[in-house]
């Protein structure tokens, strides 16, 4: 089922005119099959679009660009957090914990830089963040914060997969969602081995233990929880 997966064509395809037209077309056909008469018989000129440049940290949820920018903001948050953790681990972190958290830091940096390049000029800028509520010398404080970020990240990704309009973005989100879930399990394991997938405890983020379902949370709810760490004003629209 997965087609057009040529890696090289991804970037140019994502925000291309034809992709946008395709989305509109799919909406159109959903509404009425009669539309085929118009499409088939009357050929309209493709309007020339000026490439969009994001100058004011806009996260516009009218399409996947907003969704990608929203996830990019979360990845900036996670990367910055782990960079700060790894710059001076809490005194009682074990060697294994240092190794795991260093791994996570590097993966989050890779995610952040991936979105930065993927979004290009349509991306938000580098956000100013605020971790003043976290005591980076205290293992409990660090683990609690990491658990919050990873569970929230997993919930955001699961929602983004369902919300994405472009199947290429769906694949990308799904590829990272499981990595964030791995992080969440590992961080939780450091707090208590039996917390790794405690779906009862995660009910507030949308998990359903009886069905074995993980967290899922819409962008407005995620942003409400993440905003206290983000000082830069995000221009969130069409949510």
């Amino acid at each position: 089922m997965i087609k057009n997966n040529s890696e090289a064509s991804a970037e140019k395809k994502l925000f291309s005119v034809s992709t946008i037209q395709r989305r509109q077309f799919l909406q159109l056909t959903g509404a009425s099959a009669l539309a085929i008469g118009i499409i088939g018989c009357k050929k309209e000129e493709t309007p020339s679009l000026t490439p969009y440049i994001n100058t004011d940290n806009t996260v516009d949820f009218k399409d996947d660009t907003g969704l990608l920018n929203y996830i990019y903001a979360l990845e900036q948050l996670e990367a910055a957090f782990y960079i700060k953790v790894a710059a001076g681990f809490p005194a009682n972190f074990t060697d294994l914990q240092k190794k795991l958290f260093t791994d996570i830091k590097l993966q989050e940096i890779a995610h952040r830089e991936f979105y930065k390049r993927f979004l290009g000029a349509t991306g938000i800028g580098t956000l100013e963040l605020d971790f003043s509520g976290i005591d980076f010398t205290d293992a409990t404080s660090v683990l609690t914060a990491a658990k919050t970020f990873e569970d929230l990240g997993t919930a955001a990704y699961n929602d983004a997969i369902v919300r994405s309009k472009n199947d290429y973005n769906l694949v990308i989100f799904s590829q990272i969602a499981s990595v964030e879930a791995r992080h969440a399990a590992v961080v939780r394991n450091q707090i208590d081995v039996n917390l790794f997938a405690d779906l009862n405890e995660l009910a507030a983020l949308g998990a359903v233990n009886a069905d074995g379902l993980d967290v899922i949370l819409s962008p407005d709810k995620v942003l409400a929880q993440a905003s206290k760490y983000i000082k830069t004003k995000l221009n969130v629209i069409n949510l």
Binding site: E113, S178, I216
Partner: protein, 306 residues
């Protein structure tokens, strides 16, 4: 009005029109051949009904049912594995680890129940329960029921396969948000399982797996150096490579470091992003055919997936 012109125009905005019309290109060709014989007057109606099938939301959708049934087989495989250990060979599991294995077993049971109900609700037929006896869990080592390390390593492979399989089926579920939502939320639970089990294997510090990480990527030697990609996989069992390797036509091995046309190693000048994090930061999907090949490694001959 020319049907081929219409399809060509649609193809410009929807490159997958032919796939939507029929998953089999040959069937599409058949239709076009039939089309030549249909009178001009009948064409708009025939095309309209064809597009309705391609873009409509009519259920039951066999692609969705097939995707869920494939997932169901993997859930049976995982459930029976954990349940057998808990009920038939309980001495295999250290007491301290029993709550974890119980959680894994219970999640898989919940997934089985949910998938079965979803398939039925969609008008499909759920794959019947596959008992323990249908499976062969000896691929890591025949001592799987007496050696806890083997047991955990086998569980890791089953969960790793589950994560990749759900990812691969997600595309088939586009357009059905309720089902897609359930699938992705099972998918991330399986990823949590995999990470947990990998940590447990790491804790045992068995030779060749001392540096096993909770994330999948380029394997590390026991001294911490990276192993040259594609020669070995995280299970250290060559026969299990279908679980970690690429699909036949897609470069999606778990060791890959290129995503969306971008090389992640050293991305944007970040030299600390070496091959290990570059491979670990993205998980890879697995397409249906390879999932079946990999699953069949754990299914006895008479019950294998075709």
């Amino acid at each position: 009005m020319n049907i081929l012109n219409i399809l060509n125009e649609i193809e410009k905005v929807d490159g997958e029109i032919y796939e939507r019309l029929s998953p089999r290109r040959s069937a599409m060709k058949d239709f076009l051949n039939v089309g030549k014989k249909i009178s001009i007057a009948a064409l708009p109606l025939a095309l309209s009904s064809m597009l309705q099938k391609a873009y409509g939301q009519t259920a039951p959708n066999t692609a969705v049912i097939d995707a869920l049934n494939l997932a169901l087989v993997l859930e049976y495989m995982e459930f029976q594995f954990y349940n057998n250990a808990l009920t038939v060979t309980p001495n295999l599991i250290p007491d301290a680890d029993k709550p974890v294995i119980t959680t894994l077993r219970d999640h898989e049971q919940a997934h089985i129940n949910l998938l079965t109900k979803t398939i039925t609700d969609l008008g499909g037929t759920a794959k019947a329960v596959m008992p323990y006896a249908n499976f062969d869990y000896t691929k890591v080592n025949a001592n799987v029921n007496t050696n806890y390390g083997t047991f955990l390593r086998t569980a890791v492979v089953l969960e790793d396969l589950g994560v990749r399989a759900y990812k691969g089926q997600a595309i088939s579920l586009i357009g059905n948000n309720a089902v897609l939502s359930a699938a992705v939320r099972i998918h991330s639970v399986e990823a949590r399982h995999s990470a947990q089990l990998r940590l447990m294997v790491n804790k045992l510090q068995v030779a060749t797996l001392k540096q096993l990480r909770p994330w999948i990527g380029v394997r590390r030697n026991d001294d911490g150096t990276a192993v040259v990609p594609t020669t070995t996989n995280d299970s250290m069992i060559g026969a299990l490579s279908p679980v970690y390797d690429k699909d036949s036509t897609v470069a999606n091995s778990e060791t890959k470091t290129m995503q969306a046309g971008m090389e992640l190693t050293g991305i944007n000048g970040f030299t600390e992003i070496t091959v290990e994090p570059a491979a670990e930061c993205f998980d890879e999907y697995l397409l249906t055919a390879t999932v079946k090949t990999a699953a069949n490694l754990f299914i006895k001959a008479a019950f294998q997936l075709t």
